[in-house]
């Protein structure tokens, strides 16, 4: 395609109109606007009109732009560079590495573009095919060690049809931009390959073969793992008003989820919170690998004050990187915070384009985009029979905490688990403030299905009795109901609530979850025949105290078993009381 040239004819915040003087324009291609001081502002074609008018959304500040500024089109869609070196990095929404930019300036000056993958670092490449081998897109050419994994070097996914390897380098150290192989198609056309290639961010990578998400992914968060689980390759949405604890929950998921690779997409969120993650993670040791948590993490830090158009790109970029690591046979988790801000970015652009708005001024096509985004998650059965998965947990920040708004509604229809955050619970400091009654998941739990039902039943009973207490007072209900209520409260206090900031209580591994559940079940099933509300409450208070003390102990800690015995004795005592009465 002949690349177009043109000049600016209108400027309206980040939406810029361009008249082309030469060449064809492609919707979605990247163009650069050259402003007076010579800086090249990256942008993307989002609309073409009258054959020679392009509307660009500019990923940078459009200050000092003027009518007549020259524009260069690239003919290429917005793409992400894939190859070794992504893990451990922090980039903006256009894959500019922020630490590299930080060496230049304190501020994110516009017009700066830095190679996304370090092109000085050498990677130790081991070839896995020989000259003469038949290859095609996604065939593995070899591998390099990257942090915790053997990173497979693929024939770019976009290559189609049979090719023959005419040259491949020997085992040795190469940078991502050095040629490592040459392949030739049946017509004799040659392509030189490096360890990196690009993929357009808005085009989902095709699945080799797709399977259904059924294996629970432990998150370390008890209420999720027990009642509202997510599976490898699954999707979850996490809406809630501000202040309900989304951020803490996200950070906890990022730290403790048993995924191989975690991608955090801070799209339009507070910079301070993103910083907390990427300054903290290098210091934290992943207990499963003994290495820095950052070694399995990639962060897209396109925060709220960065140019709005790049916010939209950031979600897609994170997803494309996720799909790439899934093709590596890994379990990838994307935490997108927040998809509402992403949708708002679309709304801003749509408004400037003067499109007819849908509900709450969001563009009409918002639900289609949201469902297409979540559909990029899933379990992939790879060519070699191994599987990889991509799970997406999207945070939604509905305006006014109102779940009826279009973004939340579209997200609910597109995701497999719903973790609704409740203001009432967070006010009561019952964290995580995930609504015990209104949340749900279609994925299998680490507990048996009947055990889940058993817990949910107790919670529902507890809620009903609580509202009766409000109406009729404690005296208005039977001792029997009151005991049932206390059991539900206890379940909530010692099992569903969790102190994210505590070293031990902050994460619960599957074995301990089982142990705790068994204890809880014992308590629920132990018949209590105490009379009088004061007496009943006091008994459950003692149990709660003993249980909480136990929750804070490490299993290998002195006193752990003693505390467990104390708890069991308390239960026996209850039985004892029953006998005496």
């Amino acid at each position: 395609m002949h690349k177009a040239k043109g000049e600016v004819v209108s400027v309206n915040e980040s939406l810029v109109g361009v008249r082309t003087t030469d060449g064809a324009i492609m919707n979605g291609e990247v163009a650069y606007i050259i402003v007076e001081d010579g800086k090249r502002l990256k942008s993307e074609v989002i609309d073409v009109k009258e054959g020679n008018r392009a509307y660009l959304q500019v990923f940078e500040d459009t200050n000092w732009m003027k009518v007549g500024d020259p524009v260069e089109f690239t003919g290429l869609p917005l793409a992400v560079k894939l190859g070794p070196g992504i893990l451990g990095s922090v980039t903006d929404g256009l894959q500019n590495p922020l630490y590299e930019l930080g060496k230049i300036e304190w501020f994110l000056e516009r017009g700066l573009e830095v190679d996304p993958l370090d092109n000085t670092q050498k990677w130790h490449f081991t070839p896995m095919v020989e000259e003469g081998a038949a290859v095609t897109g996604s065939t593995v050419l070899g591998s390099v060690p990257e942090k915790l994994f053997e990173h497979k070097i693929f024939v770019p996914f976009s290559i189609q049809g049979n090719h023959t390897v005419t040259h491949i380098v020997k085992e040795g150290d190469y940078t991502v931009d050095e040629p490592i192989a040459t392949i030739q198609d049946s017509t004799g056309k040659s392509v030189e390959l490096t360890m990196a290639f690009e993929w357009p961010v808005k085009r989902p990578m095709p699945f080799t073969e797709r399977s259904v998400p059924i294996k629970p992914m432990p998150t370390g968060i008890r209420i999720l793992d027990a009642l509202f689980p997510i599976a490898y390759g699954g999707t979850a949405c996490n809406p809630g008003p501000f202040g309900a604890g989304k951020t803490v929950l996200q950070h906890s998921l990022a730290r403790h989820s048993q995924a191989d690779v975690v991608i955090i997409a801070a799209c339009g969120e507070r910079a301070g919170e993103a910083v907390e993650v990427f300054k903290d993670f290098p210091e934290l040791i992943d207990p499963r690998t003994g290495k820095s948590l950052m070694d399995r993490t990639y962060i897209v830090g396109n925060t709220s004050s960065m140019p709005v158009a790049a916010r939209e790109a950031s979600v897609y970029m994170a997803t494309t990187v996720g799909e790439y690591y899934r093709k590596q046979g890994l379990n990838v988790l994307i935490l997108a915070d927040s998809t509402s801000r992403w949708a708002q970015a679309l709304r801003e652009t749509s408004g400037r384009k003067e499109e007819i708005p849908g509900p709450e001024a969001f563009p009409m096509y918002i639900s289609t985009l949201i469902s297409a985004f979540y559909d990029r998650a899933g379990v992939e059965i790879l060519g070699d029979g191994n599987t990889g998965s991509l799970s997406i947990i999207g945070t939604v920040s509905p305006a006014g905490g109102n779940f009826d708004e279009p973004v939340t509604q579209a997200t609910l229809l597109s995701t497999g688990a719903f973790w609704g955050l409740s203001r009432a619970l967070s006010d009561a400091r019952k964290y995580p403030a995930i609504d015990r009654i209104d949340s749900n998941s279609k994925y299998p739990s680490q507990l048996e299905q009947e055990e889940v039902t058993y817990l949910l039943e107790l919670l529902r009973d507890g809620k009903t009795i609580a509202s009766n207490i409000i109406l009729m007072g404690e005296k208005g209900i039977t001792d029997e109901s009151y005991i049932r209520y206390q059991k539900a409260e206890l379940l909530d206090a010692v099992f569903l609530q969790q102190n994210s900031f505590h070293e031990v209580d902050g994460v619960t591994h599957p074995e301990r979850l089982r142990l705790m559940f068994n204890m809880i079940q014992e308590i629920i099933d132990t018949p209590v025949d105490i009379k009088g509300k004061e007496e009943i409450r006091s008994h459950f208070n003692f149990i709660r105290q003993a249980f909480l003390d136990w929750n804070y102990m490490k299993p290998d800690e002195e006193g752990f078993d003693k505390q467990k015995t104390k708890l069991l004795n308390l239960l026996k005592q209850m039985g004892h009381v029953a006998e005496n009465v």
Partner: protein, 443 residues
């Protein structure tokens, strides 16, 4: 640079003017020259062919088609110098304190945002002496946090208290849509506290044009940022950002922008964010803390709603009290583990019990609260409110924590408070040994 003057004004609105001109830059500063020679500032906000749209700082009233427009070839800038300390400026950067005009280094307004990797994780507690803040929602240096309050609440008093009771190097007050007496109040408080020589004010009052009001946060923050880059700890006070958002709505409306929620422009979130995100603890330099005011009827209104998603919490003021529920400091966890070992736990225990008490208040309305425990919860709630929620009661953090233990011990048994046995052993006051609270005499 040749500054061209144009005469063919197309349209004049409340705050917008359009004119045909060439070679004009987006966000360029311009002068509107009246037939009598008087001048007013304007800024380019959109270009379409040779049609240039300008925002009028002085508003559209009195602008006529025989005015001329001269483009100045530079963006909006603000002076920056130590000489500004103690001074008062308007929303277009002109002195309004009868002092001399300042010819100093000019710095750009609304510059790009700081690279997140150049931020430090906030780590210093700001002691305010307000128990509801220090104990329950600790303020942290570099935090951006508003006070959410209805008009009529004493929010400006609280704002001034926090600013003057702490140890900022520089205080910058950005007043948007202030009533004259509020302006006077800030000035007086700053003088009383002896902080005048470290304070700069940018003040827009109701009599000034709305575009000037729109500029206030940008001027205040641009100057604040320069001081922070020089290594100073800077406090920026913005009151009131709801007014500011309303001005933004008026201007967007005058431009025929497609409105989003309740007529606010679709980019309200981004607009608020680019201001609040100036707050930062800068690696190798100083810090910028923003305390704002967001007046509101309820938190679901678009302005507090969008603000809440940007700021690191909020202090929620109601009926003259600082509320526990609704208030939040997102950064408190960064510091409250290094204050005193019981800080976090007691904060949570107090809150949990208070929320339980709130349930009983509801129940009480049905006349169904008669049991001893519920009655004690209600008593606890009263004590809590009386002893802790007054935003103008000054207590050192340690005293406030002791007071919390006293209050718990006054109303509850040890096993009722849900605190670990270790902490109870260390802090539970023995009978009759309250440190702060005077024991109530029950009959």
């Amino acid at each position: 640079m040749l500054q061209k003057t144009y005469e063919n004004i197309d349209s004049i609105g409340r705050a917008i003017l359009s004119i045909k001109a060439q070679g004009v830059h987006n966000k360029e500063l311009a002068e509107v020259i009246y037939p009598n020679g008087q001048k007013a500032f304007a800024q380019v906000i959109a270009l379409d062919g040779d049609e240039v749209t300008l925002q009028l700082f002085g508003g559209g009233f009195g602008v006529s088609t025989d005015c001329k427009v001269r483009f100045l070839g530079k963006p909006i800038q603000v002076g920056f110098s130590d000489d500004m300390l103690g001074r008062v400026y308007s929303g277009n950067g002109q002195p309004i304190d009868k002092g001399p005009e300042l010819m100093s280094d000019m710095v750009r307004v609304a510059g790009p945002s700081i690279n997140p990797v150049k931020r430090l994780i906030p780590k210093d507690m700001i002691r305010t002496g307000v128990p509801m803040i220090d104990v329950f929602n600790t303020l942290v240096r570099s935090q951006k946090i508003p006070i959410f309050a209805k008009a009529g609440e004493p929010y400006n008093r609280l704002l001034a208290n926090i600013a003057t009771q702490t140890d900022a190097d520089v205080i910058i007050i950005g007043g948007v849509g202030l009533k004259y007496d509020e302006f006077h109040y800030f000035r007086q408080r700053i003088e009383e506290a002896g902080s005048k020589n470290k304070t700069i004010m940018f003040i827009h009052t109701h009599r000034d044009s709305i575009v000037e009001g729109l500029m206030v946060p940008d001027l205040a923050l641009a100057v604040a940022e320069q001081f922070a880059l020089q290594g100073k700890n800077v406090f920026v006070l913005l009151s009131d950002m709801t007014q500011w958002s309303d001005y933004l709505r008026q201007v967007a409306n005058a431009q025929d922008q497609i409105p989003a929620n309740q007529g606010y422009p679709g980019d309200l979130y981004s607009q608020l964010a680019s201001r609040y995100e100036k707050a930062a603890d800068i690696d190798g330099a100083g810090s910028l803390t923003i305390l704002g005011v967001t007046t509101m009827d309820d938190v679901t209104h678009p302005v507090p709603d969008n603000t809440g998603y940007i700021t690191e919490g909020q202090f929620y003021m109601k009926d003259g009290y600082l509320e526990l529920f609704g208030s939040l400091s997102r950064l408190k966890q960064q510091v409250n583990d290094r204050t005193r070992p019981d800080h976090r736990s007691i904060m949570n225990a107090m809150a949990r019990l208070l929320s339980e008490a709130e349930e009983r208040v509801k129940a009480q309305k049905f006349g169904s609260v008669k049991d001893d425990y519920s009655l004690r919860l209600l008593e606890y709630r009263k004590t809590f409110q009386r002893e802790l929620m007054d935003p103008f009661r000054y207590l050192e953090l340690e005293d406030a924590l002791d007071l919390c233990w006293d209050i718990l011990a006054q109303h509850f048994k040890k096993e009722e408070v849900g605190l670990s046995s270790k902490l109870i052993e260390a802090y539970w006051p023995e009978k009759g040994k309250f440190k702060i609270l005077k024991e109530m005499i029950h009959e």
